[in-house]
Structures are given as C-alpha cells and as structure tokens.
C-alpha cells in the first residue's frame, strides 16, 4: 500500500513545494535542475513504495536512483566549486570512480541487492569535496555572508547527509535487524538525515530567491 505521507516522503514533498515556490522563476540551470531532481526524488519514492507493495523487493528502484543521485550531487558540487577553481579534472576522476564502482557492484551482485558500496564510496568523495569547498571559502579574499548564501547551505546539507550516513552505510546489513520503535535503525537514521538534508535545501532555496531578488 502506498503511503502518501510518511516521515521521508512528507519532507521531500514539502521541499519540492518550497522549490516550486522559490525556484520556478530561476533562470540558472543548476536551480532548474534541482527542481527537476526533487520532482524525480518524490516520483522515485512513490514508485518505490508501489513496487515494494506489489513485488516485495523494490531495491532495484533505489539502485537506479543512486545513479542519478551521484550525477546530481556531483553536478551541484561542481557548480559550487567553479567560482574558486577549475573543477573539471577532479570531478571527472571522481565520476569515473563512482560509476566504475556502481557498475562493478551492479554486475557482481545484480540489480536486486542494494548498491551500498557505491553509496559509501560516493559519500566519502562528497564529504571530501565539501571539506575542500570550506577550505577554498576560508582562503578566498572575498568574504561571504554565509547566513544567506544559498550555495553554502546547499553544500552544507550534502555534507550533513553524507557524513551523517557514513556509519549506517558501513554497517548497512547489520543494522537492518535492529529496530527503534516500528522502524529499523538504519531507517530511523535515514529519516533524521533526510529531514536535515531537505530542511537545509529548502532554506538554501529561500536564500537563493532572496539573492535573486537583490540582484534584479
């Protein structure tokens, strides 16, 4: 049975609504793609639920999603970095590492086993990128007001999500059996991380709208 509102989908939906409200008029390709990605996230959640209800194993849906997630987050980070350095070489290398792992695990374990190794690899890479971005930000002569800096908060959300999920990714198989209330432990952590990720993204959209208003 599909749940329209559950702890994860609700925050994703709220974030999508905020994105539609604040980003739909944005001309910059990154924010337009963000809006499309959020719509894709919501569709994936509901489709995943539908497949889960019908065929029991819906992991292949999330495996496909990981492919797009890695692409979108890499693109977002690339967008943040290009103000400071030429990020093409490092992002080309990281993309090769992530997608090679993805397809290698995919070939080895098949489509019905969750691709947690790729998620772990990309988590480590994204965390390192976020820390590198902070380093560039601190080294830069132009001092930003980070309180309302949309890209900073978008990237910070990514850092929270992927850094916070490190433990669950590493012990993914082990924690499925441990439950907190009605949810498995990994799912409870996943809910918390999603709230942080989409909450901070929603804030970054508001900052972006404010920034756009000031520029116009």
């Amino acid at each position: 049975m599909i749940k329209i509102i559950d702890p994860v989908t609700s925050v994703e939906l709220v974030c999508l609504i905020i994105a539609i409200f604040f980003l739909s008029k944005d001309k910059q390709s990154f924010w337009t793609i963000t809006l499309a990605y959020l719509a894709f996230v919501c569709c994936t959640e509901y489709f995943g639920q539908y497949i889960g209800a019908k065929y029991k194993n819906n992991l292949w849906v999330y495996n496909v999603f990981v492919f797009f997630e890695a692409g979108f987050i890499s693109y977002g980070l690339y967008n943040c970095f290009k103000k400071y350095i030429n990020p093409k070489p490092i992002f080309l290398i990281s993309s090769i590492i992530i997608y090679t792992t993805y397809f290698a695990v995919f070939i080895k374990n098949g489509v019905f086993a969750f691709n947690s190794i790729t998620v772990s690899v990309m988590s480590v890479i994204f965390v390192l990128y976020c820390l590198y971005y902070y380093y560039l930000l601190l080294r830069d002569e132009h001092l930003l007001d980070i309180t309302y800096h949309s890209e900073f908060w978008w990237l910070t959300a990514v850092l929270f999500f992927y850094f916070g999920s490190t433990t669950s990714n590493l012990f993914f198989g082990l924690f499925k059996s441990i439950k907190i209330g009605p949810y498995p432990l990994t799912y409870a952590i996943y809910i918390l991380l999603n709230w942080i990720l989409y909450g901070l993204w929603a804030y970054s959209f508001i900052c972006r709208a404010k920034q756009r208003k000031l520029q116009s």
């Binding site: 820390l131 433990t167 012990f171 924690f175 441990i178 432990l185």
Partner: protein
C-alpha cells in the same frame, strides 16, 4: 543477545550524532573565522583612513604655518620697507639736487631690499614642496626662518641635507613636528639659545631640539590635557611608529628627541 543489540543501536546512534556534530562545529568555525576576518579588514581600513586624514590635517597645518610666516613677513618687513620708501620719495625736493639724489638712492636701496625679501618669501611659498627635495632641505629652510627672526642664538648640526632617500609621508610629518616644537619654543619657552641636531643612523632618523628656556614639569601637560601642542606631537609620532623622548626641568630648559624608522 537483546542487550548486545541495544548496545550496538546506542553505539550507532551516538556515532551518527558525533558525525552530525562535526559539520555543526565546522559551520560555527567558518562563521566565526569570516566574522574575525571581516572585523580585521574593517580595523585595517579604519586605521588607513585615520592615517590619511592625519596626513591631510598635517598638510593643512604646514600650509597654515607657511601662510602665517608670509603674513608676518609681509607686515613686519616688506610692508615697513615699502612704507619707508614712500615716505622718502614723498620728501624729495627736486629743487635741492644733491639731497634729492641721496633720497632717491636711499629709496632705490630700500626697493632693492624689498625685492630681496620678496624673493625669500617666494622661496617660502615653495616650502610646501620643500619636503619633495628631502627632509634635510625642509629642516634647513625651517631653521633659516628661525634664524632670520634674530631672537635666538642657534647651533645647528643638520646632517640630513645630502640624504638621498625620502619617505614623503614621514617627511611631511617630521617637518610638521619640527614646526610644532619651534612654535612651542617661541610661544612658551622664553629661550635664548636653541640647538638642533639631525642625522640618520641604522635606518633611524634622529632629530633633537634643545633649548635653555624656562622648562616645565613633563607630567603636567599630559595630566592637565592643556598641552595641545605636545599631545599633537605624541599622536603624530605614534602614527609613524616613532619614539619621542622629552626631558625638561623647570628653569633648566627642554630637550626633545625624536627617533623615527626611516625611510
């Protein structure tokens, strides 16, 4: 088994929390760091603005001092000479050829003296640009005017005349400091003898002005805040990272030594 599972769950929960706290600390660190750097930049800008404003003030004061000297000179010297010339020429009796010739010669001498004085004045007008020729020349010019007044016995040892290096901002401030010190001597010291020494050693410019005036208690002007001249001297000297040593005893005169890193 159940307790082991609970322990693992607690461990995972705590480690996740720790992993989440790290970005929080990072955000705070970035925010504080940016705030600190912003404040530092603001402080630097304020110091720079203050320095520029002091420089402007110094330039205006040097100009004022020059104008005052010119006004005094015109009134006391050139004006008197020309008045005397007018009087002499008015009293010329053309019927008495010999006397008339003498008076006209006297008038000519007075006019020539006026021209010479005016030339000296013109030099003073260039005095503002004098610092461009070096601090040694500027000090020399200042001493010349003091000497012209004839009220003081002067002993001068200015070794900065042939100085090849310059520092326009510091030169202007040093010249102004010297003017301020001389002004204080003229106004308050009741001195009859002034000694001025200047030289450069180990990238430090030394300027010493000593006089045999009435002297004062060096602590008094600071505590009473009445010594505007001295306060201004202290402020300017700090601005160019210099040092001022003031020695004074009531009845025994005063000496002021200035040491400024140069150039």
């Amino acid at each position: 088994m159940q307790s082991q599972t609970t322990q693992i769950a607690i461990l995972v929960g705590i480690s996740t929390l720790i992993f989440l706290l790290m970005p929080v600390f990072l955000i705070f660190y970035i925010k504080i760091s940016i705030k600190y750097r912003k404040n530092h930049i603001l402080e630097k800008t304020a110091i720079k603005q203050k320095f520029e404003s002091e420089m402007l003030q110094t330039r205006v004061e040097v100009q004022d001092q020059t104008m005052q000297s010119i006004a005094t000179e015109l009134h006391d010297n050139v004006g008197q000479l020309l008045s005397l010339t007018t009087l002499t020429l008015n009293s010329v009796n053309l019927n008495d050829g010999e006397k008339a010739r003498n008076k006209i010669d006297n008038s000519l001498a007075l006019v020539n003296k006026s021209i010479k004085e005016l030339r000296e004045l013109a030099k003073l007008l260039h005095g503002e640009q004098l610092v461009e020729n070096g601090i040694g020349h500027a000090i020399d010019q200042e001493i010349n005017w003091l000497n012209k007044a004839g009220s003081y016995k002067l002993k001068v040892n200015n070794q900065l005349i042939d100085l090849q290096i310059t520092s326009p901002n510091k030169d202007l401030i040093i010249l102004r400091l010297l003017q301020e010190i001389i002004n204080n001597i003229i106004k308050h010291a009741q001195a009859t003898y002034i000694q001025i020494d200047s030289h450069l050693a180990d990238h430090i410019l030394h300027l010493r002005v000593a006089e045999n005036g009435i002297g004062f208690n060096p602590e008094e002007p600071k505590s009473k805040k009445s010594g505007m001249g001295l306060n201004s001297i202290y402020k300017r000297i700090e601005m160019i990272n210099g040092k001022l040593i003031l020695n004074s005893t009531p009845g025994e005169g005063t000496s002021i030594s200035i040491e400024v890193p140069y150039p």
